[in-house]
């Protein structure tokens, strides 16, 4: 299972940041920082506990999350330094541990697979969260509540195709006759890639067509393919008449977003900060994050502006 999930994560990382170019090197070098950079987070200077450095990872959804944290905390009187686009999971986690940033949004499945290294199959989002929380607490990091939404791989089909064949979950695809599924070229052989899906769900009738990331949506709308590999928070899912099939065999794992705060920073925070973050996270349903992603990734509104409007309309600032 571990191997299974890590494949998705690799995709997210590969997608997320060009920084992957320097990732290996940076991960190795960043891990060298301890005392020298500890003061850069600024948590101990000025008014104790009212200064905080927020980080975000290298893709649009994380930029929005980072802006939501930063602007919400600023509205509560914190002096916030926002470092966007810090890089891949390994780089930003090292930045958190070494004090260059104090808080950032991370995916529970990423923590479990990349660092906690659990080999057991995870049955629920709660279980995934608990393992992530345990690992982080052992590494001096506090986890607050996770978002109801999660962002992970899924299989989507057109509504009329689903109606025609009575599809609700992935296993319903078995025995409906030959159909074409598309994914990106390096997601074919992995256990959650094409081959893994065929094996786990016994889908001998599923044919493969590889397409570059982002071309899936056009292809399925034109009817060139019948099923597409998507991310559950893709804003395109809002625009087209697609339905996401339930992953009834839990192949794709769980990926809720959780704020990670280093313990020394968390201990100095006033209660309003965790309260705000928990309230914010409870509002981030799949519909909400898709709308935010759409505003940013399709309408191309600046993530700062997207976050500001959301916080204002929800009375958070």
């Amino acid at each position: 299972m571990r191997k299974l999930i890590s494949h998705t994560l690799n995709r997210r990382r590969a997608l997320g940041t060009l920084g992957a170019l320097g990732a290996g090197l940076a991960a190795a070098t960043v891990s060298g920082c301890t005392a020298t950079t500890a003061n850069l987070g600024g948590t101990k200077s000025g008014a104790a506990g009212r200064r905080i450095t927020v980080g975000s990872k290298g893709f649009a959804e994380s930029w929005i999350m980072g802006e939501l944290y930063a602007q919400g905390l600023r509205a509560r009187g914190y002096q916030v330094d926002l470092k966007t686009n810090v890089g891949s999971s390994d780089i930003i986690n090292t930045a958190l541990q070494s004090g260059q940033i104090d808080v950032y949004p991370e995916y529970t499945g990423v923590i479990v697979v990349n660092w906690a290294g659990t080999d057991t199959a995870l049955g629920t989002a709660e279980e995934t969260y608990d393992i992530a929380k345990k690992w982080e607490s052992e590494h001096g990091v506090t986890t607050l509540q996770a978002t109801p939404f999660e962002n992970k791989n899924a299989i989507a089909v057109r509504q009329e195709f689903a109606d025609e064949h009575g599809l609700e979950k992935v296993s319903d695809l078995k025995g409906i006759g030959d159909f074409i599924y598309s994914t990106y070229p390096d997601n074919v052989s992995g256990a959650i890639g094409y081959e893994g899906i065929v094996e786990t769900y016994g889908l001998d009738n599923m044919e493969l067509k590889t397409l570059s990331i982002g071309l899936n949506y056009q292809a399925i709308e034109r009817g060139e393919i019948q099923a597409a590999d998507v991310f559950t928070t893709d804003p395109q899912l809002l625009r087209s008449d697609l339905v996401v099939l339930e992953d009834d065999k839990k192949l794709f794992g769980f990926q809720n977003v959780v704020p990670l705060i280093r313990d020394d920073v968390f201990d100095d925070l006033d209660a309003d900060a965790p309260e705000f973050l928990n309230t914010l996270h409870s509002l981030l349903t799949i519909d909400a994050i898709q709308a935010l992603n759409e505003a940013s990734a399709i309408n191309r509104i600046d993530p700062a502006q997207v976050a500001k409007v959301f916080l204002q309309e929800n009375g958070l600032m």
Binding site: T29, N85, K133, L283, D287, R300
Partner: protein, 240 residues
């Protein structure tokens, strides 16, 4: 308390509808560029200018002093040149990342790296400019009673100016381009919209930010040409 927050009832804002060009990721959406100029492009452009100016000014001071010292003490020219050349050959992305453990994800990291890349160009330009001053000019200046300091300020440096300015031009244009890589370390400068438009593909942002970097390089270069001309009026007088 459960780990996963219970789903609340969010107000989902109406973010409006973007133009067809933006939605379909057209080659260049002028409407979007104009709308987003003040948030997406202007602040990074200003940051970029600061980054470049700071790096070139500091790089110039260090390289200039080193070149004058090397000109006086000839045996130093070799070692200084080797160090400067070594710094210049490092891949920029690697140098940025190597500095992160020491100076963090900060502007300081970026400036140190950028300064390193300007050194060899300016150093060589100043040194070769000084070395090219004809011996008989120096001899006659000494014959007229100038001391070492006067010789440097009144004869050698003015005659080396065209070479120094051309070195500065190359260093500045190079720094404008290398500074885009700084976005891997700090979310600042024109590299930031470029990097983001690569991670979340959007042609307009990518093309516009790239074009601004090119334009900025031209502007800096043009300004230095003008400054160079103003500082060396005799070069024009000779031609006319």
């Amino acid at each position: 308390m459960s780990g996963i927050a219970p789903a609340g009832d969010p107000v989902i804002p109406d973010y409006g509808q973007a133009s067809e060009c933006v939605i379909n990721n057209g080659a260049f959406c002028g409407d979007w560029f104009v709308d987003q100029w003040s948030t997406v492009f202007w602040p990074p452009l200003v940051d970029h200018i600061y980054m470049v100016v700071i790096a070139v000014v500091i790089g110039f001071i260090i390289a200039f002093v080193a070149a004058v010292v090397a000109y006086r003490k000839k045996w130093l020219a070799g070692p200084i040149g080797i160090v400067a050349t070594f710094l210049y050959t490092l891949p920029p992305l690697a140098l940025f990342q190597l500095l992160v453990p020491f100076t963090g994800l900060t502007l300081l990291t970026v400036e140190i790296a950028l300064v390193c890349f300007t050194l060899v160009i300016i150093f060589q330009a100043v040194l070769s400019g000084l070395a090219a001053v004809p011996d008989d000019v120096k001899k006659s200046a000494i014959g007229m009673g100038l001391d070492q300091r006067q010789l440097m300020l009144k004869v050698e440096l003015p005659l080396a100016l065209p070479s120094i300015i051309s070195g500065l031009r190359i260093a500045t244009v190079l720094t404008v381009s290398i500074a885009t890589i700084a976005a891997f370390v700090v979310d600042s400068g024109l590299g930031s919209p470029i990097l983001k438009a690569v991670s979340s593909p959007f042609n307009t942002q990518f093309i516009a930010a790239g074009a601004l970097a090119v334009l900025l390089a031209f502007v800096f270069d043009g300004l230095l040409v003008i400054v160079g001309k103003a500082l060396t009026p005799w070069t024009r007088a000779r031609v006319s």
